[in-house]
Symmetry: C2
Subunit: 221 residues, 2 copies
DNA sequence: CAGTGTGAAGTTGTTCACAGCA
DNA sequence: TGCTGTGAACAACTTCACACTG
């Protein structure tokens, strides 16, 4: 028996590939809006300024099949990507930490098109509790320790300061949340079945400023 | 000829390492505030939930030297990290695209502590032009095509929709900007001396939702 | 023959193993 | 003995090379 019997299902998709998928999707939607019916991997690669082979490999993970000389059917590819990314499913989320970062996220409504909906926000600050940010009410987190399990919320968003993040995480785990999107600059300890993704806002900035410094240092030699 | 002649100076620091630096810095500052004088790599690793060897390797890139059995001097390490990341230098930035994402970023003032200061924002939307977001004035981008070269702005932040991003990039390059922090879901084409960092807001979400979907699929088998 | 699909080679980053040190 | 520091093994991802196909 071949060991790669059904690769697409058994082997996990490399995370870097998953991270590139939204980019393809956004491009393809705009191409569809321009009336394009077929698109080849090299074309996609040129628009996105990346390697054509990588595009082929990435797209193959969605189950897409292209035709030599013609490429992929745009509409079909969009559907496969949306399905792969789970954009067709609706997920509800709680956000904890409605300070500057948290409220910025709430105000940025770009995520609604991905099927994510923040249904409530929580904080400990009496000045914020009771207010409404971008249509989302802010509650006192102390009063809602057993709320989420009843509501079946799948995603928790953490936008608290670093020191509070682990406590909030533990609470979310109790709530029965399945995935955590963490903006706090710490690595969270969670049971293995919980999905965690860290968004380190400072990381990109760090790379930029470190590169700038190196560039300037080189000038001074 | 060997290609690894003088590792420490010629070889760049691995980008993943640079991306982890802000995390160390934030932890160390909080440790210092608690009065801690020395800290070992295993201790740091435990707090951050990561591999101790990796901590040692990462810290070595900043020039830090630790002492066996004692660890690193917290204060010294903080200085080395701040220096490495360029947080001691002040960089001024322009932000283009003052829509929901752009204004969210402006309102989130967490970056000021990194030495980054957004001095002006730009847009094409007549309704936004002339307003002020978190103390930053929004100008009509059409009227400022030759402004930045005179002001020596080093960093450009792009928070426009995907289709506008490349035009804005070209403009920024003309302005003499040295680094671009791109939030638009496209890969920008730039001359090789320009530093570009992409922050794909959707990527983390993509990983989460794809993982959730896989998890659910598994349940259904 | 331009473009897909895929195994192989190459590159980069992580983890291991151990020497050296206080 | 606990920790640093580093070269070497390992794993993950990317790029290459090429067979295949309409």
């Amino acid at each position: 028996m071949k060991k790669d019997a059904d690769k697409s299902k058994i082997m996990g998709v490399p995370e870097p590939s998953v991270r590139r998928m939204p980019k393809y999707l956004i491009l393809l939607r705009s191409m569809r809006d321009k009336g394009l019916v077929n698109i080849s991997a090299p074309q996609i690669a040129q628009h996105l300024n990346m390697d054509p082979t990588q595009v082929v490999k990435d797209l193959s993970y969605t189950g897409a099949r292209g035709r030599p000389k013609i490429g992929y059917a745009v509409e079909e590819l969009i559907n496969l990507l949306e399905d792969f990314l789970g954009y067709n499913k609706k997920y509800e989320a709680f956000l904890v930490g409605a300070g500057s970062l948290g409220s910025a996220l709430l105000r940025y409504q770009g995520f609604t098109q991905t099927g994510l909906k923040v249904v409530a926000a929580f904080d400990t600050d009496k000045n914020i509790i009771g207010t409404e940010i971008a249509g989302v009410k802010v509650f006192d987190i102390e009063k809602f320790r057993d709320l989420a399990s009843r509501l079946h919320i799948t995603i928790g968003i953490i936008t608290t300061p670093a020191h509070a993040a682990q406590n909030v995480t533990d609470l979310m785990v109790c709530w029965g949340i399945k995935a955590i999107w963490n903006f706090a600059p710490v690595s969270l300890k969670v049971p293995s079945h919980i999905i965690v993704q860290d968004t380190q806002m400072y990381s990109n900035l760090a790379v930029i400023m470190n590169s700038l410094k190196q560039y300037e240092d080189k000038q001074n030699i």
